[in-house]
């Protein structure tokens, strides 16, 4: 039974591919490629050594943009969440920048960093910074007062308080926030690569269309983006399942 449970999503995907292929075969001459053509496109990319190169390029930018945002936004957010006065001072600014789409920064990114990795990394950074800042601030607000009081009661030094109460208490929410934000980073990198660089999966999609309507490569790019997004999410989920975080899911 359990074997079948696992097989079910695979069967669903297979069925969808079949419907897709049949629909395309019934309408020859239609420009959208079927799954077989897309698979051919992926093989083509592999053969030219572009697939791996573009995936690595995109992941490289995401890693740097996301990591920079996390290293700056999380400590800052935790501190602001703890010192409410700081938060009240900075909050209007945060709420002002937050609704500006990271894509709106593209011209400025190119102006500052030129066409290249730095511009894309900057855009991902902008897209991740504010969600992570807010996640960290809220995580501090949501620490139950009893944990804080218990920490004070046992006479912890400020640094022990941070490592033994604050950090473990915010971890569950931070992990959820990081997972969602990594998804945002992956969205932003594709858009950024369409305009500000000459490599990566986003560039692949735009380039395939511009250079002769290779829609098999366009869809191949989309499929690969989806698959990698899925893998990234699975990776973040497995973080939650780590032994030292095991308590998170069963809290109550």
């Amino acid at each position: 039974m359990k074997y079948f449970e696992r097989l079910r999503p695979v069967l669903l995907v297979a069925a969808l591919f079949a419907i897709w292929e049949i629909a395309i075969d019934l309408h020859p001459g239609y420009i959208l490629p079927g799954p077989i053509a897309v698979a051919g496109g992926i093989l083509d990319l592999l053969r030219h050594g572009l697939l791996l190169k573009y995936i690595v390029a995109s992941l490289f930018r995401v890693t740097w943009g996301f990591a920079l945002a996390a290293f700056l936004a999380i400590p800052l957010g935790l501190a602001l969440g703890w010192y409410r006065r700081g938060e009240m001072a900075i909050n209007p600014l945060v709420q002002f920048f937050r609704p500006i789409s990271p894509l709106a920064w593209i011209p400025i990114a190119i102006l500052w960093f030129g066409v290249g990795d730095l511009a894309a990394i900057f855009l991902i950074f902008v897209g991740c910074f504010f969600p992570l800042l807010l996640t960290a601030m809220n995580a501090v607000h949501n620490i139950p007062v009893v944990y804080i009081d218990a920490g004070r009661n046992f006479g912890l030094s400020p640094s022990a308080f941070v490592t033994r109460i604050l950090y473990p208490a915010v971890i569950p929410q931070l992990i959820v926030g990081l997972r969602i934000t990594l998804g945002v980073a992956w969205l932003v990198v594709v858009a950024a690569e369409m305009i500000s660089v000459n490599s990566g999966l986003g560039f692949l999609i735009v380039d395939a269309r511009n250079a002769g309507n290779r829609y098999d490569l366009v869809v191949a790019g989309m499929v690969i983006i989806g698959v990698i997004g899925l893998l990234l999410d699975l990776g973040m989920r497995s973080l939650e399942q780590m032994k030292s975080f095991r308590w998170i899911n069963s809290e109550g």
């Binding site: 139950p144 009893v146 944990y147 009081d149 218990a150 004070r152 009661n153 046992f154 006479g155 022990a160 033994r164 109460i165 473990p168 208490a169 971890i171 095991r246 308590w247 069963s250 809290e251 109550g252």
Partner: protein, 262 residues
């Protein structure tokens, strides 16, 4: 003054815990609201004192002030003659709910306040208190795997492990079901009798107070003052159907202003 000085242990030693003219006022909507007023209380070393009173009267406020979590508007709290200025591991507060750390195992929670001890001593202390609160076999379990009663026992163990002078308990069994609550009272009495700590216990449950305490302090409604201090002159284990038990319980109900019948 309703306060009666009864030294149930028959010694003349200085009180472990003493509250002098405690006053506490909150600012709300620009108005000052007096919560506690002129409270004087001495608690002897090793004594078990329960604090009861109508809901919202300031029992928890008084407890938090005595444990150092709230600063007083007037008066002072002394432990062994030393004025309480803030929370301190020498007096541990046990919370009603969610007091244990979910990210630590049973052992981790009990050892939380023991990080400065050498490893061997810490392990020995943890083992002792695991046994004291009967959590053997759960040393490596997380709180989410424990029942409500076990979590409260764990919290008591974590508190006792740092060897505090005074244990403050804020309605510790209030969130438990009634059967578990009765069992927990027995457990707490057993622990208290073997460890002999001074216990200051807030409850809204009259029966709980009569079953546990050496003395029961009754607070009036706001601004709270001590209405009566009732000595429970019954040895443990107490027969809760005895005439004396019922008399004492009725006396407390009368003090709180509740009728004899529902």
């Amino acid at each position: 003054m309703a306060q009666t000085e009864v030294d149930i242990h028959g010694t003349q030693s200085a009180p472990k815990l003493s509250a002098e003219h405690l006053g506490m006022a909150y600012e709300r909507d620009g108005q000052s609201m007096q919560v506690l007023e002129g409270i004087n209380l001495d608690v002897a070393d090793g004594e078990f004192v329960c604090l009861v009173g109508p809901s919202g009267c300031g029992k928890s406020t008084m407890l938090n002030a005595m444990a150092g979590f709230l600063s007083l508007t007037s008066g002072s709290v002394r432990i062994d003659g030393e004025v309480v200025t803030g929370p301190d591991p020498r007096r541990i507060l046990v919370f009603q709910e969610r007091g244990v750390f979910p990210w630590l195992t049973v052992e981790g929670n009990i050892g939380f306040g023991l990080s400065k001890l050498p490893r061997a001593e810490r392990q020995q202390r943890i083992a002792h208190y695991v046994k004291t609160v009967r959590l053997e076999g759960f040393e490596n379990s997380y709180p989410s795997d424990l029942s409500g009663g076990m979590k409260q026992r764990l919290q008591v163990a974590r508190a006792l492990a740092v060897n505090p002078d005074v244990l403050f308990l804020d309605e510790p069994f209030g969130a438990l079901d009634s059967i578990t609550r009765v069992i927990m009272r027995g457990e707490l009495l057993r622990i208290w009798q073997s460890e002999r700590r001074t216990i200051f216990f807030v409850t809204h449950d009259i029966d709980e107070a009569v079953q546990l305490a050496d003395r029961v302090v009754v607070l009036s409604s706001r601004p709270s003052q001590i209405k009566q201090v009732l000595t429970i002159d019954m040895a443990h284990p107490r027969n809760i159907s005895s005439t004396r038990y019922l008399e004492l319980r009725d006396e407390l109900l009368k003090q709180i202003g509740l009728a004899y019948e529902i």
